[in-house]
Amino acid sequence: MTATLSAADWASFFLHYLVLSLLSIGGAITTAPDMHRYLVDEQHWLSDAQFTASVAIAQAAPGPNVLFVALLGWNVGLNAGGLGMAALGLSLAMVGILLPSATLTYLAANWGHRNRELRAVRAFKQGMAPVVIALLVATGWILATGSRYDPVDWPLWLLAGLTALIVWRTRIHLLWLLGAGALAGALGWV
């Protein structure tokens, strides 16, 4: 598909990501529904298939999942005309989604480190510990079961459970486990 973006459109695109950055508590992926609304439904800069593929590719690729934002910007630019535009879209999207949150985190972390003896700072960091640890287990649970509990998925649950057990009890390199998972999937076992 093709799209036409004026300089004002690019400015609005950049501004949109600056705002989403501040709202992205729990990760950039939590703002994906709003990105879909803005880019696909409202502005028609991106097709639905391009949006879905961008998220899927970034999930499959190594590295932080926030890179789906880079692909979205890249594809908006491609639709607007060529590689130069794609590079512009990628840069605006990534700087937009990272600059506010990274600045805020940097300042907050430094403030917290300088005041690490304050009772409030210690209470926050130590108090949150059981919550963020349980969040990790919950995230694994959600990733393994998806949005539905369908019994036909039992081999996937078994694979996720076995992986958790192996990582917990052994020091085997994580890439071996990922490779084994890919192989089991390609052979149609899970």
Partner: protein, 198 residues
């Protein structure tokens, strides 16, 4: 970089740390490139268990901040770790390491995606890797529970708070912000009171 004093050889009693900005950059690049379906499990394994740049307890404390601040959590974590050792330049080096090469990989995958999108084996492999990634992140959480042994609230209270969090997020699928505010807020207030009583 030339203004940095030469890194002293690590004495046995000195905790290990990144030697230089490029050590930070390449360490984080390597972490990110291993992180299929999430980088956190790899960060914990490499930085806490192998390189020993930080203890489990320190890792959990940094992760709490990275999680509560807006922005991608592992990106936040990487810039916090970088800044701990080399200030702003360290934060930027770690951030660049986490993003630069993976960005190239993602773009390359985007280019070949159309040819493989319909391939059943590729779809199967991705499904299998997704399940492994789910297990990795859950195991990271299970291993970090060891950091709760010295928690001011004591282990039973920590188990209760953790169970409430897990139920809210995984079973009831409540929004993250509610759980962080509700359970997290309660946990912080309880810890604050306990720290004051000592």
């Amino acid at each position: 970089m030339s203004s940095l004093p030469p890194a002293p050889a690590a004495a046995p009693d000195e905790p290990p740390r990144p030697r230089s900005l490029s050590d930070l950059f390449f360490s984080f690049t390597w972490l990110a490139l291993q992180g299929f379906g999430g980088v956190l499990a790899v960060v914990q394994r490499e930085l806490v268990e192998k390189k020993r740049w930080m203890t489990r307890e320190e890792f959990v404390e940094e992760w709490a901040v990275a999680q509560i601040m807006p922005g991608p959590n592992v990106v936040n974590l990487s810039l916090m770790i970088g800044s701990r050792y080399f200030g702003l330049r360290g934060a930027l080096a770690a951030l660049a390491g986490m993003l630069a090469l993976p960005l190239v990989v993602v773009l390359a995958l985007g280019l070949v995606y159309a040819q493989f999108a319909g391939n059943e084996q590729v779809a199967g492999a991705l499904r299998g890797m997704g399940a492994v990634a789910a297990g990795l992140i859950a195991a990271t959480g299970i291993k970090l529970t060891a950091a709760l042994k010295k928690h001011p609230l004591g282990l039973p209270a920590c188990v209760g708070l953790g169970a409430a969090t897990f139920a809210g997020i995984a079973l009831l699928r409540w929004p993250l912000a509610w759980v962080l505010l509700g359970v997290g807020g309660a946990a912080c207030v309880l810890t604050w009171r306990r720290l004051g009583a000592k």
